[in-house]
């Protein structure tokens, strides 16, 4: 925790002088720690001359920001129209039942967090998913299955 706060402090120092610093700062924190701990709202608020409520409001407004650590890997399944036209419904049910979780949940072994996403810009290759920062197109249930299996094996 102490180490985390020190890292957050250094992100604050390198961002606080930017115009409209809050979004880039929150990104930097989440890129580093994979989430934005509530304990740091006060520090951010003070540095950017905001209220804690404002910081809280911004963090929770955006789907991308997390207030709790995710699993070791994040799987995003596109639910938007183009992917629906190519059967993402079946893909979604398959993934949910094989992981035994719903959207916004993490598997009990802490390996995978499942999230919906509304378009990855890969619509000419629907259905599309993103696993961590890797994008995949024309995905079959079998392919997700094997991607997830290897992701769950690699324990950091």
């Amino acid at each position: 925790m102490h180490d985390q706060m020190a890292r957050i402090q250094s992100h604050i120092e390198s961002h606080q002088h930017m115009a409209g610093a809050l979004m880039p700062l929150l990104h930097a924190i989440q890129d580093d720690l994979s989430y934005i701990p509530e304990e740091c709202y006060g520090l951010i608020a003070k540095a950017l001359n905001l209220s804690v409520a404002e910081v809280h409001g911004v963090v929770t407004f955006y789907h991308h920001f997390r207030t709790r650590p995710p699993g070791r890997h994040v799987l995003q399944v596109c639910r938007a129209e183009s992917c629906q036209a190519m059967g993402c419904g079946a893909l979604e049910s398959h993934v949910k039942s094989s992981l035994g979780i719903d959207y916004h949940e993490t598997t009990s072994d802490g390996s995978i967090t499942l999230e919906p996403v509304y378009c990855l810009g890969n619509c000419a290759c629907s259905p599309a998913i993103m696993l961590d920062d890797e994008i995949y197109g024309r995905v079959s249930p079998q392919q997700v299955e094997s991607l997830l299996a290897s992701a769950r094996r690699d324990n950091p």
Binding site: V58, F61, A80, A85, G121, C125
Partner: protein, 516 residues
């Protein structure tokens, strides 16, 4: 040395382009063949990706879609000299998909190395800026006005008029903001420009800055596009190093600074005022207008806010002149539109054509019909807030006014096809659900109406008293249409009511009852 092109476009990567590039590099090494691999943008033929091209004396020859286990046989077949192989497609430019397009904004995409400034310059890059530097701001704005360019972000507002307002607004500081939030399903042309020719966007923004007197620009890119962000940052860095950005651009008296900012997964932040709020570090709540951003935009200063394609279309206008651009198109829709074919379509991808091409030509001549081989039942044009069109409307030409007459929109030019297995009541429910998930929460019709819409649609889908509940959906649509502050709530009735009007059977009532 042999040159091989393998796209670095996200969609190509999503189908294995990085693995294919690595396999080709390795194979070349093991055969002691020196190889120059260029990671270009995509030509936009995604059913052929990864599409590998080789440079030969008769132009580029294409092979695709390439998988890693075919790499060795490509070498065996002498593909580096254009040798025959099962994956041979012939000269890329001669492919029917490429041949009849009118690529103005996408002129370089798939051809150049996107992050090489040299390559950009070698392909007519920065000619528009060079012309602009010597022009009076009023004349630049006039060129853009005369070209007939209208905003490609959805509202189709004339770009020149927007710029004129900012030019004439007196202020110490002005901004140029690029809306790269591209949240619509079925759209990826912004992404393809950012990944396939980032300099053209940078050049367009620089010209905008000079035209209106703005010295600072921001590109607000959705977080779902990591490859776009990386390509933009590389290109911006070399533009600074070569004097195309920064202080005294190319030795002129103009300064322009540019920075990429990441969004955070809120669809509503594509709405221009919500985007500005987000850039300022706030929640993405839509602002009341007036004042327009052109008068009081980012940090309260006059701001040009334009879509990626709008800005990326400016360099060619300043290079070849407004008449050249205006000569493409029909009616009041001038120039070209990058059209994106997606969903259940055999040949999905990007087609740039002058306005006036019909949906049917796009769906069948370019798209090749549905991917499933079944009849195409409906297409949604213009993203999640766009109307669904039935087969009887497929002869509509792409033109803002023609679509308006059908109570439909062109949006970003994304077309999503559905075959006859689609349930349109389900799609109407989804439209409400999407609005509920993405609403900024400022107005009641949007925030509550969408949630209520999902509930009512559930009843219709369950077959409970459809006539009564359909009346309720129409009523809700009316309230949202008239009572919403922005198009998120205000246009959700487009997909909902068009689905209902064209496909009443899917809602449990007959066409006859519908007409009554």
């Amino acid at each position: 040395m042999n040159t091989v092109y393998i796209p670095r476009d996200s969609s190509a990567i999503s189908l294995g382009a990085n693995l294919v590039a690595a396999a080709i590099a390795k194979e070349a090494e093991s055969r002691n063949i020196p190889l120059n691999i260029i990671r270009n943008g995509s030509r936009g033929m995604f059913w052929l990706e990864p599409l590998v091209e080789v440079a030969t004396s008769v132009g580029r020859i294409a092979y695709g879609p390439v998988t890693t286990d075919q790499v060795a046989s490509l070498f065996d077949a002498g593909f580096l000299d254009g040798g025959q192989h099962a994956l041979s497609l012939g000269p890329t430019e001669e492919l029917p998909w490429m041949k009849h397009q009118e690529r103005l904004t996408f002129a370089r995409v798939g051809i150049t190395d996107p992050v090489s400034l040299q390559d950009y310059l070698a392909h007519d890059g920065y000619k528009g800026l060079r012309n602009a530097i010597d022009m009076a701001p009023q004349d630049i704005v006039q060129q853009v006005t005369d070209s007939g360019l209208r905003g490609r972000g959805g509202a189709a507002f004339p770009t020149g008029i927007k710029w004129k307002t900012v030019l004439e607004a007196p202020a110490e500081q002005k901004y140029v903001v690029c809306n790269a939030d591209e949240g619509d399903s079925g759209t990826f042309s912004d992404r393809m420009i950012m990944e396939g020719d980032p300099f053209v966007l940078i050049e367009g923004m620089t010209i905008a800055g000079i035209a209106v007197g703005a010295t600072q620009g921001y590109i607000y890119v959705r977080s779902e596009y990591p490859h776009s962000i990386a390509a933009l940052n590389l290109a911006i860095k070399s533009a600074y190093e070569a004097g195309y950005l920064g202080r005294g651009i190319l030795g002129s008296r103009h300064d322009f600074y540019l920075e990429v900012r990441r969004a955070a997964g809120a669809y509503v932040c594509g709405e221009e005022t919500a985007l500005l709020e987000s850039l300022e570090g706030k929640r993405g709540l839509v602002r009341f207008k007036p004042p327009l951003p052109a008068i009081s935009g980012l940090f309260g200063k006059p701001t040009v806010i334009n879509n990626v394609i709008s800005l990326a279309s400016v360099p060619i206008i300043l290079d070849k002149g407004s008449v050249y651009y205006r000569d493409y198109g029909m009616g009041r829709s001038r120039g070209t539109l990058p059209i994106q074919l997606a969903g259940n379509i055999k040949h999905g991808g990007l087609v740039e054509k002058a306005f006036g091409v019909t949906l049917r030509e796009l769906l069948y001549d370019y798209g090749g019909g549905s991917a499933s081989g079944r009849p195409i039942k409906a297409v949604q044009v213009g993203g999640p807030l766009g109307a669904y069109l039935p087969e009887s409307q497929f002869d509509t030409p792409l033109d803002y006014e023609e679509f308006g007459k059908l109570w439909a929109v062109l949006g970003h030019g994304g077309i999503v096809a559905f075959d006859d297995t689609v349930d349109m009541a389900h799609m109407a429910r989804y439209a409400f659900e999407f609005c509920a998930v993405e609403s900024c929460g400022k107005c009641t019709p949007c925030r509550i109406g969408s949630t209520r819409g999902v509930e009512v649609m559930d009843k219709i889908i369950a077959g409970t008293d459809p006539a009564k509940h359909i009346a309720l959906v129409r009523d809700l649509g009316d309230t949202m249409l008239n009572g919403s502050l922005c198009a998120l709530g205000g246009m959700t009735p487009y997909p909902v009511l068009s689905a209902l009007n064209h496909f009443p059977e899917d809602f449990g009532i007959s066409k006859k009852e519908q007409a009554a």
